[in-house]
Subunit: 334 residues, 2 copies
């Protein structure tokens, strides 16, 4: 019987998870019990949020135990089913972990991937956690109205690029912030931002002021840090901030300092709201369906960076944070 | 003909307004034109918010011009009317300024003070800007539900004391933060807080953790600064922060630094919302009426600190910020 390569957590990362915090283990092919399914993973997902999942502290999810398989979303194919409603050959997206095979309970499945006209890999990116985060975070916390100016940080990223395009579809002006000339060009040419700003060149604040003459009505924040400080100063009255990620903060222990936000929040009567998509899984399928329709109509573009082999998992989270990736990072197994 | 003593703005305060930023001027008794009313002020209000009104910068209200009469709410009596709907003897609460007499347009009137069973001074405090701020800020941004733990800073102050009592009336547990043993005792004995904490004694964080075993569901923030930093660390999931005042921050120029909030906001899926009561003046009368009913029923207590003479105005704002006052500060003129 074939084995099952797994990526297990070898140590708790103090900041951004590095390759050394994981180990690849050759395990036995799992046997499934009654009510379970055996899934062969096709694509494994890599998320910036994995950093938070690995923290051993009060957080929005249970910390992952040292020694266990790394928690991850994956797209896989059912190769054996002892659970009603699932059959061999079904393609599923769910919490199958960084491993080749998963003996899974039905409640780890998020959805069946039955969009046969679209690549199954999309179920992990623009139609998955990233796209759904963009759509629901924007709508629920950002509450954009046509004519609003929407500012997005990590504007070329998997979440940010979807936010910018969806805001545009909703009739907003979009301002993207990204790092480096290549990403800025992609923001403008591929994701349709009205203005794209390179935060690495001097003058971020002036560029933002010029890009938001009436202020920023919505700020979809994937970075926190100095980028956010600059955006806060451009907030319009009644602005909404979606606190969705903190990519630019290398470590939260100890908590870094920055300019206090209370007075801007108060005087602009702004709202800063945290968004974690895992709170909204009941709406996942419907949101994914809306995104798929936009993809089919050519209105929602995406980039994927697919690399082959489970050996690429351990260093993959750190890659997301070094700013080098250009698209949804996926590990292809089959 | 009698004169009209006025308190005019003599200079723009860099931080908290001090007596030197005002001058008392003997002016002529104003003459009213068609459509105006002549109001004799009985009580002048002193607000922490006056600091913000005096700032020469982007803010929620037009900055007050140097040389003009200090913007202030007052309760006064109509002594001459050339405006329909107003008659001599009417008691009014409105934007009549720090002066003895005001030639006022009807749109400066916020409401007629016809609760003859209650002191007219209450129209400036528990039934005025302070009480209405407490009620609407708590309901609109704090959105408490019965059973919630509601934490209040400046818990013994004019706004905070009303927040604590209203939260209690709505079925919440209340935790008040105040400075000094006397205020803490008042919080407990007079305003009914379940727990009152003196932020000046060591161990604020431990005291908060003990007072909020399930976390703080609502934080009504009148201080910002280190007090808020300690409360943020106790926020429950889905907590709501009402950013209503920044009493503990001596100057916002330059913006002081503090621990970044983005990660707490995100992981707790908290919401921080700015509240300025001036956005909600259409609801003022109804809110004031609800507060008056609670006062009549003995369910809503208040403290007033009334001092006599317009000469007490210039130093009155700084008094609010030195933490020595115990109740709504009013200047009685008549």
């Amino acid at each position: 019987m074939a084995g099952n390569k797994q990526v297990r957590v070898a140590g708790r990362p103090p900041g951004i998870p590095q390759a050394e915090h994981f180990e690849i283990v050759d395990s036995d092919m799992p046997a499934i019990g009654a009510g379970q399914i055996l899934v062969r993973n096709l694509f494994l997902s890599v998320e910036p949020a994995m950093r938070g999942w690995l923290v051993d502290k009060s957080n929005y999810s249970q910390p992952i135990e040292i020694g266990s398989v790394m928690r991850a979303l994956a797209v896989g194919e059912v190769i054996e089913s002892r659970a009603p409603g699932f059959a061999s050959g079904d393609r599923l997206m769910g919490w199958f972990g960084w491993q080749e095979f998963a003996a899974a309970a039905p409640d780890t499945v998020i959805r069946k991937v039955d969009d046969t006209d679209l690549s199954p890999s999309l179920a992990l990116g623009v139609l998955g956690l990233n796209g759904v985060t963009a759509l629901l975070g924007l709508e629920k916390v950002g509450r954009p109205v046509a004519g609003d100016t929407v500012v997005v940080s990590t504007a070329a990223g998997s979440v940010g690029s979807a936010v910018g395009q969806i805001a545009k579809l909703l009739g907003c002006r979009t301002v993207g912030i990204a790092g480096g000339a290549e990403k800025v060009a992609i923001c403008r040419d591929e994701f349709g931002y009205d203005v794209a700003i390179d935060y690495r060149t001097p003058g971020l604040e002036q560029a933002l002021a010029a890009a938001c003459p009436g202020g920023a009505n919505v700020y979809f924040d994937n970075t926190a840090g100095a980028i956010s400080d600059a955006v806060y100063r451009q907030l319009a009255v009644y602005a909404r901030i979606v606190a969705c990620g903190t990519a630019s903060v290398a470590s939260w222990d100890p908590i870094p300092t920055g300019p206090r936000v209370e007075r801007i929040i108060m005087t602009r009567r702004a709202t800063m709201g945290g968004f974690v998509v895992l709170d909204h899984m009941a709406e996942f399928n419907a949101a994914s369906g809306r995104l798929a329709q936009w993809v089919r109509e050519g209105k929602l573009r995406y980039r994927e960076e697919i690399v082959d082999g489970i050996e690429r998992c351990p260093g993959a989270i750190a890659d997301l944070y070094n700013g080098l990736n250009l698209g949804k990072r996926l590990i292809r197994l089959v």
